[in-house]
């Protein structure tokens, strides 16, 4: 597994034509889906280069999502820690209450452009499900959201919201009945309904071009942070910190800073009961590369290559000890620990 060698520290070239971010990414899907994946790739290439598409997306982000979201100076938090000036990017103020809608808005416009008439999505806690249900309601498309039965129980208010928006929530009981199984079930739906269905993936995962699309649609976060920091401070930030689950908000805020040597990027994974236990959700710090859901990435897996469940607690604790920027390939290739180790 030798990474190709683009110009050092230039991450704008990724992914390559095969959908690779160095060793990672790719298109590991059943043959039935492959023609569709190529079709999606071609449609996305065309949309990405089409000023009309970008203008339409920009209009909806402004008038429907409510962008730009504020960059808020957290005065008391700054004083509490007594170090860096801390700003918070207020993605929770978007319509539907999270960053997820940035990506959903981009993808639903693409799905419409492709003439798809039915949308499916997976969701874990429910934020992507709610955002998907919302954009489907906005454009009048039927929406099926796959959600692990365990998560349906844990996150009832979000299930209620999705139903209210007209989406059908399918409780997935296969496997461990959580997010990874919801994604398996969505893929099974897609492979069965290839001709009319668009699969709206919510995180920086899945087969190419999904990680690239999610990155591009979420990069609006980082672009705004860049402009807002320049406006507020007259300079770029010293560091950007983001939580990493699937990675969509992290790559969204990091990507516009990837080539800025002076900006340190910290991805923080949920350490659960600790990195010395197997009850955590830190796939990058505590996992190994492998293939799941269409891409090569860091996975929590056992010694035989079986996927293990991410441990989730209701109030995730951040791992202060392991807050290194190690973003694997969803964001950029290779091991970032050297550049960012303190």
């Amino acid at each position: 597994m030798n990474a190709p060698t683009p110009a050092p520290n230039d991450y704008s070239a990724y992914p390559d034509a095969q959908g690779r971010f160095g060793d990672y990414g790719g298109r590991y899907v059943p043959e039935t889906l492959m023609p569709l994946v190529h079709e999606l790739d071609a449609a996305y290439r065309a949309a990405k280069a089409d000023p009309a598409f970008q203008a339409e997306l920009s209009g909806f982000l402004t008038h429907y999502v409510g962008r730009p979201s504020p960059l808020y100076f957290a005065e008391r938090l700054t004083r509490h820690y007594g170090g860096a000036k801390i700003y918070l990017k207020r993605e929770e103020l978007n319509h539907t209450g999270s960053h997820k809608i940035n990506n959903c808005m981009g993808q639903i416009l693409l799905a419409r452009r492709m003439g798809k008439t039915r949308i499916i999505a997976e969701t874990g806690a429910g934020q992507h499900g709610v955002a998907s249900a919302t954009v489907c309601a906005r454009f009048g498309l039927p929406c099926v959201v796959y959600m692990g039965a365990v998560d349906v129980e844990r996150q009832k208010p979000n299930v209620f919201r999705m139903n209210l928006l007209g989406a059908r929530v399918e409780a997935v009981t296969s496997g461990s009945a959580t997010l990874k199984d919801a994604m398996n079930e969505a893929l099974r739906d897609w492979v069965t309904n290839v001709h009319d269905t668009y699969y709206m993936i919510g995180t920086a995962a899945g087969m190419h071009p999904y990680p690239e699309m999610v990155r591009d649609f979420q990069s609006v976060i980082g672009k705004e942070v860049r402009e807002q920091t320049l406006a507020a401070e007259g300079r770029l930030p010293d560091a950007v910190v983001a939580c990493v689950g699937g990675g969509s908000n992290a790559i969204g805020i990091f990507h516009p800073f990837l080539n800025d040597e002076g900006v340190r990027l910290y991805g923080v994974e949920a350490a659960g009961e600790g990195m010395d236990t197997d009850r955590h959700a830190a796939a990058i710090n505590g996992g190994r590369p492998g293939v799941l859901h269409g891409n090569m990435t860091y996975l929590l897996q056992d010694p035989e290559g079986q996927i293990t469940e991410a441990h989730s607690i209701s109030r995730p604790r951040l791992s202060r000890h392991r807050a290194r920027a190690f973003l694997a390939a969803r964001c950029r290739p290779g091991d970032l620990s050297d550049r960012h180790r303190r």
């Binding site: 095969q18 790719g26 298109r27 590991y28 899907v29 059943p30 043959e31 039935t32 889906l33 492959m34 023609p35 569709l36 296969s174 496997g175 990874k180 199984d181 398996n184 893929l187 099974r188 492979v191 069965t192 290839v194 190994r288 590369p289 492998g290 293939v291 799941l292 859901h293 269409g294 090569m296 996975l299 897996q301 010694p303 035989e304 290559g305 079986q306 996927i307 293990t308």
Partner: protein, 277 residues
């Protein structure tokens, strides 16, 4: 030795003028000992080729029957290593029936393609189907298998046009596998009349015998497909027999092999019947 075993089997079937019956079972379902007993019994019950599933926790293209079979096997501690060990034990009693391993990429990546290919060939496996490795990602695996004279069988599907069939067949050997329905295993039913022209397309593109799988559950349907294809694959209907036998406390091996027997008989007599009709 390995690719040769597949070629020899299909050459013999061609001489007999009949289609192959390909039986899919999940290794270690419901446990290692029973799984091995089933495996050893398959040729006698009429399986011409064996597809041996190695379990994966997240089988994205499987319907509920094979998902559950994988979980049963994993619950009893089945692994890729033990799957290869099972093939070694099978080879002590059968040196001629081809075995095609079938599963998902991650356990193979975890082991390393070269190591896997060496171990699998040494155990006596002949070919490999990996559901989530399409032609675009197949080269490293195909190279590793080539080095051990093992076949990689890339799947053709209803969504594969002629241009893709060419790409698929570039790295396929042994036989061509046509997935008869767009969907997961064991849910939709295959229609022999719809399948027939696709089989001809795949045969023309590959120059290989074409076996048809996904959506074949009954002897009648197996016979119908056997009239238009070079082989018929049945999987979900067999692993469901495991589940049924466990549910009603019957002998698992006898029940599975009895189903194999009825399907194999239907495949063997299919063309004879069609000639006399």
């Amino acid at each position: 030795m390995t690719k040769a075993r597949i070629d020899a089997r299909f050459a013999a079937l061609k001489a007999e003028g009949r289609a192959a019956f390909v039986a899919y079972v999940m290794a270690g379902d419901p446990d290692y000992a029973t799984g091995l007993e089933i495996l050893k019994g398959l040729p006698g019950a009429g399986a011409d080729v064996i597809e041996l599933g190695f379990p994966f926790s997240d089988p994205m293209a499987e319907g509920p029957p094979i998902q559950r079979a994988a979980l049963r096997a994993l619950d009893k501690g089945m692994t890729l290593t033990k799957t290869l060990q099972m093939i070694s034990e099978f080879r002590q009693v059968d040196q001629t029936t081809p075995i095609i391993l079938m599963g998902y990429a991650n356990p193979l990546i975890n082991r390393g393609f070269e190591t896997f290919a060496r171990d699998a060939a040494a155990a006596g496996a002949d070919g490999l189907i990996v559901v989530d490795i399409p032609p675009e990602e197949a080269d490293p695996l195909a190279d590793a298998l080539d080095a051990e004279q093992m076949s990689l069988l890339l799947l053709s599907t209803p969504t594969s046009d002629d241009a893709r069939l060419k790409i698929i067949q570039k790295r396929t050997s042994g036989f061509a596998y046509y997935v008869s329905v767009a969907g997961v295993t064991g849910v939709k039913e295959a229609d022999a009349a719809v399948v027939a022209p696709h089989v001809q397309r795949v045969r023309a593109a590959s120059g290989l015998p074409v076996c048809v799988g996904f959506g074949i559950r009954t002897p009648e349907r197996a016979a119908a497909v056997a009239r238009v294809a070079d082989g018929v694959v049945v999987g979900s209907a067999l692993v469901e027999e495991v589940a049924e036998a466990l549910a009603v406390n019957e002998t698992v091996t006898a029940r599975v092999l009895s189903k194999v027997d009825s399907l194999a008989k239907a495949v063997r007599s299919a063309r004879v019947e069609s000639l006399t009709v």
